[in-house]
């Protein structure tokens, strides 16, 4: 049994007595008898089978026994030096410095509630305000919310926002957008009724349909409310954002850019290139790979759309004595007040991960972010050149890449990944059919020349 209930037996008895009760069981008199579980381990139970039903899981373990069990599970995953990470696809093996871990994981941040009582939540609120500011600076659009669940959910919300803003339920989504994110967009479109039109790539960049067809059809619902493009895209290629902006203008759609916050250290900001909404995955800043979560949905948009912004927003204000203070604001957009008319159902978000992101961004700062992007780009180029020197390895596309790249191998990519694991590498992500057979490889600032050389040597062996 866990040790997290402080009450002693004597205290429980006294409390029951105060209420005129004689046992804890009596507290559950309101639960119809037929629904009650038996205590103990008799019978079958589990899924509601025969015998007196009871909670059919083992009894509690001590702290060291739990720790041993968790360590046992953890030991059964290959990580770190056992499986050197060259995989990306939306989740990257970046450094998380001691400062970020130790500061962001302070228990006031970790165990705080949602900052609905601003007078006792200035710590979280100010950290979020700073996060919003840094994200707005990075994306180049004025408003950033206080986080969404992950890159995929940010993308869904962007499509929803665009649909609401334009009154059109179709979205054109580039196949350069992370395929998992597109999956999620499709899943939720089943509820919202949005139509998602996926647009193919050509040599690594989106080839948008002829706008004439779309605009001439006359059927406004067929015309997209959103044009969604990723920059750099899933294959690491640099899309033509200015072109996408022109397209959106012609169609009267919003331009949604899924950006990579690390690459943004070197690239023009999506805002400066005309994005209306910028979404992204914040994991690269301060969050370890963590088998995929909790991550962080980055979401920012132009000021005009602030009243449709999903999720929480922190604003600066003052207290009764005129002192600077922060508070969640424009709450009337949110589900707890607007209920069925809310633009989004988000309540619990990823605040702590946003705080990690804020600390990491502050740690990087203006110069460090650029340096990080530069180091990733150097490693990517070095690795790409090293792999392309191998017999039978060819570039999947010719378009310039930044943080990630795709190659065609003489063997199936799944097989290469499998064999490379024996050599101690997580070689990358085997690309799905929509991209042609290939391997997607990511190189972060943590990868050294020796590691990349060893990777290339292992790959040479594996594809031979």
């Amino acid at each position: 049994m866990g040790h997290f209930v402080p009450h002693t037996d004597a205290e429980i008895d006294a409390m029951l007595e105060f209420m005129g009760l004689s046992s804890l069981d009596e507290l559950f008199a309101v639960v119809p008898e037929g629904l009650r579980l038996a205590v103990g381990e008799d019978g079958e139970g589990g899924g509601g089978q025969a015998g007196p039903r009871h909670l059919d899981i083992p009894d509690g373990l001590s702290e060291p026994d739990v720790a041993a069990e968790m360590e046992h599970l953890a030991a059964r995953n290959a990580v770190g030096a056992e499986l050197l990470c060259f995989a990306g696809g939306g989740a990257y093996d970046h450094e998380v410095p001691a400062t970020v871990r130790r500061v962001a994981m302070r228990s006031e941040f970790v165990t705080a509630y949602t900052p609905y009582q601003p007078e006792v939540a200035q710590g979280v609120l100010q950290a979020l305000f700073e996060y919003q500011t840094m994200l707005a600076r990075l994306t180049g659009v004025e408003i950033a919310n206080a986080s969404l669940y992950d890159g995929a959910s940010a993308c869904v919300e962007a499509v929803n926002l665009a649909a609401a803003a334009t009154g059109r339920s179709t979205a054109w989504v580039s196949r350069g957008v992370n395929p998992n994110w597109r999956d999620v967009v499709r899943t939720f479109a089943a509820g919202s009724g949005h139509e998602v039109v996926e647009v193919d790539l050509h040599d690594g960049v989106t080839r948008w349909p002829d706008t004439a067809t779309a605009t001439s059809s006359g059927d406004r619902t067929q015309q997209p409310g959103a044009v969604v493009v990723q920059y750099p895209n899933y294959l690491g290629c640099l899309e033509d954002l200015a072109g996408a902006r022109r397209l959106a203008d012609e169609l009267g759609a919003l331009l949604v850019v899924a950006f990579d916050p690390v690459a943004a250290g070197l690239l023009h900001s999506p805002g400066s290139l005309g994005a209306d909404v910028v979404v992204g995955e914040g994991q690269p800043f301060g969050t370890p790979l963590s088998f995929g979560g909790p991550y962080l949905g980055l979401f920012s948009c132009r000021k005009d759309h602030v009243r449709r912004l999903p999720g929480r927003l922190v604003g600066e204000t003052v207290d009764t004595e005129g002192r600077r203070a922060y508070v969640t604001t424009l709450r009337t957009r949110e589900q707890d007040i607007r209920r069925e008319k809310a633009s989004s159902n988000v309540c619990t978000n990823q605040t702590l991960i946003a705080v990690c992101c804020a600390v990491q961004l502050a740690w990087l700062g203006t110069t460090g972010l650029r340096e990080l992007a530069l180091r990733c780009a150097r490693g990517t180029r070095y690795a790409r050149e090293a792999l392309l020197r191998l017999d039978g390895v060819e570039p999947l596309v010719g378009t310039p890449v930044l943080r990630e790249f795709a190659v065609r191998l003489p063997v199936p990519a799944e097989m290469a990944v499998e064999r490379m694991a024996d050599e101690g590498f997580l070689a990358g992500i085997a690309l799905g059919d929509e991209y042609g057979v290939g391997l997607l490889v990511a190189v972060t600032e943590r990868r050294t020349r020796d590691q990349i050389d060893a990777y290339a040597a292992a790959l040479e062996k594996v594809i031979r």
Binding site: M70, E71, N77, V110, E130, I143, L364, R378, G379
Partner: protein, 521 residues
């Protein structure tokens, strides 16, 4: 900064602040910034030092670095540490906050979630190299099914609301498969705001069913609303008043009779752990808030995790891939036949799931039942204890939470629920949930949770008594918090969503070097 440093951009001012002085303001990162200052440090890679122009085509390359902030490690550590001294948290005190189950988060779960073998795994790691993670997820799903009495579960939804929407999409897919076009989902008037919002996003219309005078769903009114257009109903049980819906079996039969499904909002699961199960009550779909019931800390608003468990007939529709144990004992990913698709970029909030798993291991069947017992004990004790000082609109045996009201106090002295909340902050407690559920006037919704001792409850009761007995000055509360009552209206009226959006006042001139970024992008 005065004369002596003339010529140096007047950044920061103080890196020292006054944490122990209580009511000083903390400068923003941007005010602490000094151009050229930095904290970053990267490993030696020995890679060629190509410059940016050699790596990025000119038309894509930004001309100046993106402005972020410029702080030293020392200053940023001090800054964020000082911010934590302006922040209430469970580790500092009690949060008697209804519907939110702000229980103590055991430290052993922090350890579990920081094991390098868990944190270091890329989500695309092939299954045979991530057997530990797959086993953890599969076993967690199994235990959650046993706890809720369901058949199978997805762990992907990252929060309760995401779980709700997932559930509604399951409902939709199930009806669609049978060729039914249903349009409505019923929810009680006491429901949490995420419920109707999710219904809308699920493509349904919300139909509200009123509560009866006992605080439960009005069964007759429900029956009236049930027809062939109803896709299902969303309920919590115990409901948001903390009351157990005793007619749940009848409701289930009625909904099922018209071909609808029952959705269980698991926000209140803490009350019934080991006592009863949604599956046994007749529910088809259940979401859980692991950040409530299973002690995942709230993190200032998240991350949580909102797994969804379903009965056998809905299992084929679950989002995937799902972790599954093969006959050979190996774990692998499986996509359910008629899956609605992914609802998360990867596998859900995995580390939050690991925390919850370690919590379930530590508590076990015996511990979880104890959780429910004491959660319910605490809430009932408080109801008895507060009866003399506050209105208790539904003064009958409750479960893990209770709703009291200041209706009488408002009449007598103008004391409103919000005033009580702000006064409680002065007393060192977090405020209860206020003005929710909507159906109770001047509601204060109190959920003590099982981890608060009877002494803490008594102190809370005394504080509430004091506040009720001497309401004077309550409108000016709180006075002893890091800031006084915050002007929320002004924040919305005169929106300042970033530091760059601040109107530049005279005193800000000093900080102009980091000013409005628009010119820089």
């Amino acid at each position: 900064m005065t004369a002596p440093l003339a010529g140096v951009p007047a950044a920061g001012g103080r890196a020292t602040s006054a944490p122990l002085m209580g009511r000083d303001e903390e400068p923003t990162l941007f005010e602490l910034s000094s151009p050229g200052r930095s904290a970053w440090s990267f490993r030696t890679t020995n890679l060629p030092e190509w410059d940016a122009a050699e790596l990025v085509p000119a038309e894509h390359l930004r001309s100046e670095p993106a402005p972020i902030a410029d702080a030293s490690e020392r200053d940023l550590v001090a800054h964020f540490t000082r911010l934590t001294h302006r922040q209430y948290s469970v580790d500092l005190g009690a949060y008697p906050l209804g519907s939110c189950t702000m229980k103590y988060n055991p430290k052993l779960c922090d350890d579990a979630a920081s094991l390098p073998g868990l944190t270091g795994a890329h989500p695309a790691t092939p299954a045979h190299l991530a057997q530990g993670w797959l086993e953890l997820l599969a076993d967690l799903a199994d235990r959650l099914c046993r706890i809720t009495g369901m058949h199978d579960a997805t762990l992907q939804p990252p929060a309760g609301a995401a779980g709700e929407l997932t559930g509604l999409l399951l409902m939709r897919a199930w009806h669609a498969e049978a060729g039914r076009q249903r349009t409505k989902v019923i929810i009680p008037d006491s429901a949490h705001g995420t419920n109707p919002a999710s219904v809308t996003l699920g493509g349904y219309q919300t139909v509200t069913v009123p509560s009866d005078d006992r605080g439960c769903v009005d069964l007759a009114a429900l029956r009236e609303r049930l027809d062939e257009d109803v896709a299902g109903i969303m309920l919590t049980n115990p409901n948001t008043l903390g009351l157990f819906e005793e007619d749940i079996a009848e409701m289930a039969t009625a909904v099922h009779e018209v071909g609808g499904l029952l959705y269980y909002d698991g926000a209140n699961l803490n009350a019934i752990l080991g006592v009863t199960r949604p599956g046994d009550m007749g529910f088809d779909i259940v979401h859980m808030n692991l950040h409530k019931t299973f002690a995942v800390p709230h993190g200032g608003g998240g991350p949580g995790a909102g797994p969804v468990a379903v009965s056998e007939r809905l299992a084929p529709y679950l989002p995937g891939p799902l972790p599954e144990r093969g006959e050979d004992g190996e774990y692998r990913w499986r996509m359910p036949e008629r899956s609605i698709g992914r609802v998360h970029s990867w596998h859900g909030n995995a580390l939050a799931l690991a925390r919850a798993y370690s919590y379930i291991l530590a508590n076990g069947a015996d511990g979880l039942r104890r959780v429910a017992e004491v959660a319910v004990l605490n809430a009932n004790w408080l109801r008895h204890r507060l009866r003399a000082s506050y209105d208790v609109p539904f003064d009958r045996p409750n479960m893990h939470e209770l709703v009291v009201s200041t209706t009488s106090l408002k009449k007598a002295s103008g004391l409103r629920a919000l005033d009580v909340a702000k006064r409680l902050l002065e007393e060192g407690f977090h405020a209860p949930t206020v003005y929710f559920p909507l159906i109770v006037d001047e509601a204060l919704m109190i959920e003590p949770t099982e981890t608060e001792s009877p002494q803490t409850l008594e102190a809370l009761a005394q504080a509430l008594e004091r506040i009720g007995a001497s309401p004077e000055g309550a409108k000016e509360a709180p006075r002893t918090t890091p800031v006084g009552r915050v002007d929320e209206a002004r924040a919305a009226r005169r929106l300042i969503p970033t530091w760059d959006a601040r109107p530049l006042a005279a005193t800000d001139a000093a900080a102009e070097h980091m000013q409005a970024p628009s010119a820089r992008y």
